[in-house]
Every structure is written in structure tokens, then in C-alpha cells.
């Protein structure tokens, strides 16, 4: 039995420029199958990396002759919810040409909205609820049998006589150290490019979940909501295994930059210390970035200079809103003052600071948004990463935001186009404010000159900034609907 993991032809966030990263979930699933179900054949079709059109994708499938196809992404860092209608469209195309070829889907958005996925997409034969590795392995093993009984596969959603059947909840993998190294050897590693300028480029994720569980966070829907806060269950791979992976990427594949895209890399001080020790010992010729929480970055401010020396050149951390009271309400776990202090230290150490923030909350009006911008401006990060609130079913804030939905077309739910209004602003006004903010941020305070002429920022980190800056116009066009 052969499973084909397909990454469709797709972009990334528009602010990331020409960005084609590995689907790290696919690499992890492939490794798990190799380890625990070696009888299952694995094939990879990364249309994104290879620049295959959808027609070329269809042509490639025939010769591969898979028994089942898989679509899915671990997190939202490609097109956010807009990947879902893309998977639906590709599934329809595949079924039109290969009507008897089963399709399995999972991951971000589908993991929580599996019933909707099965109901709205008859082309999805099977869907995975929640975390996927063990379900994929069990599914493949069972599916390969002459008389499979798929009802025993925990976490699987399937149909019997047209009825949607949701199998038993699959508990989380508690010990991520049990997962094998991702199967990078199966992927076109020389094709991946990050932020237009960084090649070879890789993304990995070394932990899952986030203890804060902000109410607007989309990553709730990478998990089965029957799990009662699975997203807040923070689990991580040991520092040694993480650095083993970085070493493999660096020495075998010549990767010089890795973004560790854990949604929250640093809740555990102990793990950060272990990671630092491993990196100091291995002395890899590699630069890296992380996503983390500002309070934890501040907690670890004594470690930051040493981390910088090991190649830590950039971090993404969230502001989201500018009132400490609001930060508390949304569960962010930090304050504006801490974010400012972290950013100041990053300036001193030459670490590129990328601060995310949001607009589109129900109470947002022009004043609130401009004050949020003023706060961000005074914090003075190197990059402002503005995101539009999305009312995704499954996030804690859903009930509060859904009454303000203006555009149900999921292909526009890409973090950059406004799809909600607020009590005070239409979605068009929100989009124009986003375009306004984007220009204001990047054209003021001499930021561009400061960063491009910096003698302390790593050149690879500066490339990331360049990608954001060069994508500024495209972002503004998208946000304001001026396409």
C-alpha cells in the first residue's frame, strides 16, 4: 500500500515574499510510517517546492500510483485558513481524474472542524481529528488489510453507508521524543527558499501547544476539540534531539538558516538552558529564529547574549493589542512594558525583532487601532507583522466574533484580508487602516535605513526584513482590496 503526501502549489503569507518551505508535518508523518509501519510505501509530491501547476500535479499522480493521498498542514503558516478551500479544490480535481483514489485530510483547521470537512467535501474520504502521526500510522496499517476495519482507528473520521462516523478521540502524544527524526531525505531539500533570499532554508517544529491559549489564536484548530484544551497542553522534544535535527540539516543538507516554528518555543526555562548548552557544544554553522512569548524572552534575558552567539538572530513574539487589560482578557500572558524591554534588548544584541499584532476585534475603532499602532511604534520592533482577526470555528473567541463576519469566502481568510467588521468599522475601513499602518510603520523612524545599514543584525535576518519591506505594497493592496 502506498500513501502519497501532496503539498499543493501554493504561496505563503504575502509578507514573506517568495517563500517555499517544506511541509514539516509530511516529513514527520513519513518518518513515523518508516519507523512503525515499514511495509507502507511512501511517496512525496511537493508541488509548491517544484513549482508544479495543478495540472502538472494531476499528471504526476498517475505514474506514482498511490493507494491513498494525504493533504494537510500542521500549522497555519502557509495561507492560514485559505489552504482549506485549496485542499478542497485539489481534492475535486483529483477525484475527477481518479474517482477511486481515496483522499485523507487532516491538520490545521480540519483537525477541529472534521465534521464540516466531511460534510462539505465529499471528495475527502477520510479526515483526521486532532494530532495526526499515530492516526496516520494506524490508518495505513488498517487500510492495507484485505478487510480493513477503520472504526478501530482512533482519531479517524470516515463514512459508513454515507453516514459520517467519528471514531474514538485520539489522545495526544505526550512524549515527543518518541517521534523519529523527520524524513528529510524524501524531500527536495535543495528547492526550499525562505523570505525570498534565504536558500537553503528550513522550518522545523520542536514542541506543540502553548500554555497561554490566547482566545483569538488559530492554533486551537490544529487539535481535536474533544480533547478539552489540547492546544494548551505544551509538549516538547528534548533539547538534544532538537539540536540533533539542526545538526542534520546543517551538515547533511547545507542549511544555514532554520526557523523553529513552534508556536511557543520557550515556556520552559530548563529546556532553553539545555538547548543553549547543546548549541554551544555543537558550534553549528547555522543561524536560527524562534517564535516565543515575550515574558519568557524577558525571563531569559540573561541567556540572550549567549544564545545570540550560537546563531539566534531573530524572534517572533506577539503584542496583538496595546492595553495590558486587553492582553490579560485575551490570555496573552505578557504586558506592553515587557515587550518593549525585550525589543530594546534585541536592538542591543542585534536580534531582529518581529512583533505580531492584530486588528478586527469587535470593539476596534479608528482610535483604538491608531493607538495600537502608536504603541507598536514606540516599542519600535524591526518588523511589524499585522494580522487580521479570523472568526475560525473552534477558537475560544469564536462566539464573540462570528456575529461580525462579513466575508464567508474562506479563500480570503489568509490573515491579510479583512473578513470581519467591528462595532465601529466596516471591513473595508479595517483594510484601509491596515494599509495605512503598514506604510506608516515601515516608512517612519528611519527603520529601513537602520536595519539595512545595521552592523549588528545578521545578514540573513536582514533578508527577512527585506522580504517584509518589499512585500509591503502587496500586503497593502491585499488588505485594502485595491487589487
Amino acid at each position: 500500500m502506498k500513501i502519497l503526501f501532496i503539498q499543493p502549489s501554493m504561496g505563503a503569507w504575502v509578507t514573506w515574499g517568495n517563500h517555499k518551505a517544506i511541509n514539516i508535518a509530511h516529513a514527520q508523518f513519513a518518518a513515523c510510517l518508516r519507523e512503525w509501519a515499514p511495509e507502507i510505501e511512501i511517496a512525496i509530491l511537493d508541488c509548491r517546492a517544484m513549482d508544479y501547476s495543478e495540472e502538472q500535479m494531476l499528471e504526476k499522480i498517475g505514474p506514482i500510483a498511490p493507494d491513498v493521498i494525504y493533504f494537510g498542514d500542521a500549522y497555519q503558516m502557509t495561507e492560514t485558513v485559505a489552504i482549506y478551500p485549496r485542499y478542497q479544490r485539489n481534492a475535486r480535481m483529483i477525484k475527477a481524474k481518479f474517482p477511486n483514489l481515496p483522499i485523507l485530510a487532516g491538520g490545521f483547521y480540519i483537525a477541529a472542524n472534521y465534521e464540516e470537512a466531511m460534510r462539505d467535501t465529499p471528495e475527502f474520504d477520510y479526515v483526521i481529528a486532532g494530532e495526526q502521526e499515530l492516526t496516520i500510522v494506524d490508518f495505513c496499517k488498517e487500510f492495507a488489510k484485505d478487510n480493513p476495519d477503520l472504526s478501530i482507528v482512533k482519531g479517524l473520521v470516515h463514512r459508513i453507508d454515507g453516514r459520517i462516523i467519528i471514531n474514538e478521540y485520539r489522545p495526544l502524544i505526550e512524549d515527543l521524543d518518541t517521534l523519529p527524526m523527520p524524513a528529510y531525505d524524501l524531500f527536495p531539500m535543495d528547492k526550499y527558499i525562505g523570505y525570498t533570499y534565504i536558500k537553503p532554508y528550513q522550518e522545523i517544529y520542536t514542541s506543540r501547544g502553548c500554555p497561554f491559549g490566547c482566545t483569538f489564536c488559530l492554533n486551537w484548530v490544529s487539535y481535536d476539540l474533544r480533547g478539552n484544551s489540547d492546544w494548551k497542553n505544551h509538549r516538547f522534544r528534548s533539547a538534544k534531539l532538537v539540536v540533533d535535527e539542526l545538526e542534520l540539516l546543517n551538515t547533511k543538507y547545507g542549511v544555514k538558516f532554520v526557523f523553529i516554528f513552534d508556536l511557543n518555543f520557550n515556556p520552559s526555562r530548563e529546556r532553553v538552558e539545555e538547548f543553549l548548552k547543546e548549541m554551544q557544544e555543537r558550534k553549528l554553522d547555522l543561524k536560527y529564529g524562534i517564535m516565543g512569548n515575550a515574558s519568557a524572552l524577558y525571563r531569559d534575558r540573561d541567556l540572550l547574549p549567549a544564545l545570540r552567539k550560537t546563531g539566534f538572530v531573530t524572534a517572533v513574539y506577539g503584542l496583538e493589542v496595546s492595553e495590558d487589560e486587553d492582553l490579560k482578557t485575551y490570555g496573552k500572558g505578557t504586558t506592553v512594558d515587557i515587550i518593549k524591554k525585550v525589543t530594546e534588548q534585541f536592538h542591543e544584541l542585534g536580534i531582529l525583532s518581529i512583533v505580531t499584532w492584530m486588528m478586527g476585534f469587535p470593539n476596534d475603532d479608528t482610535r483604538k487601532i491608531k493607538e495600537r499602532h502608536a504603541a507598536l511604534d514606540s516599542i519600535d520592533p524591526d518588523v511589524s507583522s499585522l494580522q487580521m482577526l479570523l472568526p475560525v470555528p473552534g477558537i475560544p473567541m469564536y462566539d464573540e466574533v462570528i456575529p461580525y463576519l462579513d466575508d464567508p469566502d474562506l479563500s480570503k481568510w489568509d490573515f491579510h484580508q479583512p473578513v470581519v467588521r467591528t462595532k465601529h468599522l466596516s471591513k473595508e475601513q479595517l483594510g484601509r487602516l491596515a494599509a495605512w499602518e503598514n506604510r506608516e510603520f515601515f516608512s517612519s523612524k528611519g527603520r529601513i535605513q537602520r536595519i539595512l545599514e545595521s552592523k549588528t543584525l545578521d545578514p540573513l535576518a536582514v533578508s527577512i526584513f527585506k522580504s517584509y519591506f518589499e512585500s509591503m505594497h502587496a500586503f497593502s493592496q491585499k488588505a485594502s482590496g485595491a487589487n
Partner: protein
Amino acid sequence: MKRDIHLTAEDILRMVNMEPGMVGKYALVPGPMDRLRSLLNEIEKPLLDFSFMDHEMYTGCYNDIPVTVTNGGRYCPDSAIMTEILCAAGTENIIRIGSCGAMNENYDIGDFIIPTGAIRGDGVTPHYVTENFSTVADYKIINALIEACEKRGKKYHLGLVWSTDALLRETNEVITKMLNLKAVCVDMVSSALLTIAQVKNVRAGAILAVSDNLITGEVGMIAPKFFAAETESIKIALDAVGILHKAG
């Protein structure tokens, strides 16, 4: 080859994503950024309209009257750009808050001058008007500034302001020529601001604090009474806004 203007104020407003109707009916325009910062302290809840090429524009309220403030520029070229932008954005009254060199031996450092019109010695206004054009300040704004000065007990003078581009070429010969044309003071901004506003049918005027005297030779740019006058000029301009608003 005949073609339209390459870049207009409307183009700039689009570029900076300025929403229509965002500016106040009254705009106060100090020249340099530090004077804008002082003015902003007097404005309630100012919100940034945009920042562009070392200029910032904010709109807030003064005694519940919507007011837009921006650093118009130190010289005619940048002031011309900002005046055009303000006019295109829809303001109806522009008051410059500036400084000048007096051209009457009886004028003191720290006095105020309210221009009634301008003698154009700059290089920008020939792109807008012919030599015969008379640049005049708006009489309603003049009267409001007079009333504001009198209420505050401040010494003021009326007359023509001569605007030059060549600060360091104010020779005796040039000054004599301007005196013959009835100039009472010199600056480097007003002719552009007043001319362009007039061409665009927007009311405009100015309140200028005397920083030095070309006739007596006194230089007061770092004199305490000049700084005091700068601070006072902001208050005079704000009072004038109140007076204009009340008059309707």
C-alpha cells in the same frame, strides 16, 4: 511633450492612505517639528493622520473643535507641499504659526506680526502665479488673530511679509528695495503658504513672532523673550480658531 502634472497632492494623499474627511476645518501649521510637538500638547487626543518626508500631521480637538496640526516646513518648497496637501485634504482655514525678522526699528524681539499679505521673493510661487498676482491673507483670519492678541494683551503689528529663499543674502540693497514695497518683516515660508491657499480658495493667515530685527541688527533667536513669544503664538493661534469657529 504635453503631459499632466507628474505628482499631485491628491496622489500623495492616496499614497499615505489618508481617508477623505479626516482633517479638521481648521489647520494650524508651525514650521519646525519641535514647534509641532509643543502645539500637540495643547490638542486633545491627537491621532496621527500620516507621516511623510519628515512631516507629521495629526487631527484632534481644541475645545471640542476638530483641528489638524502639522509641521509645515521651514522654507517655501516644503511649506508649498504641505499647504497643497492640506488644501487637497479639505481643510478650510490655515493659520501659520511662525517667526520672522522685523524690518522696522520700532519692533521688538518677541512682538507679533500679523501679515496682511506677502511679497513673493521665493522660487516656488512663480510656478503657481504670475508676477502680477497679489498674495493677500484672509481678512477673517487676520481679524481673529488681532482679537486674540488684544485679549492676551500682546503687542502686534500689521503689514506685508516678504518671503525670501536666501537667508544669508539680505543685503542693504535688497532690504531697502523691500522696505520701499512696504514690507514690515521677512520670513522664508509665508508667501508660499498664503499664495497656494489663496489659489486653492482656502482661507489662510499667519501669526509670526519676531526673532530678530534687520534694521537694528538685533539677533534674538536664542533670546528668552523670543521663546516666550513662540509659546504665546501657539496660544494666540488656538484662540483665533475659537474666535473663527464661534463666528461660524
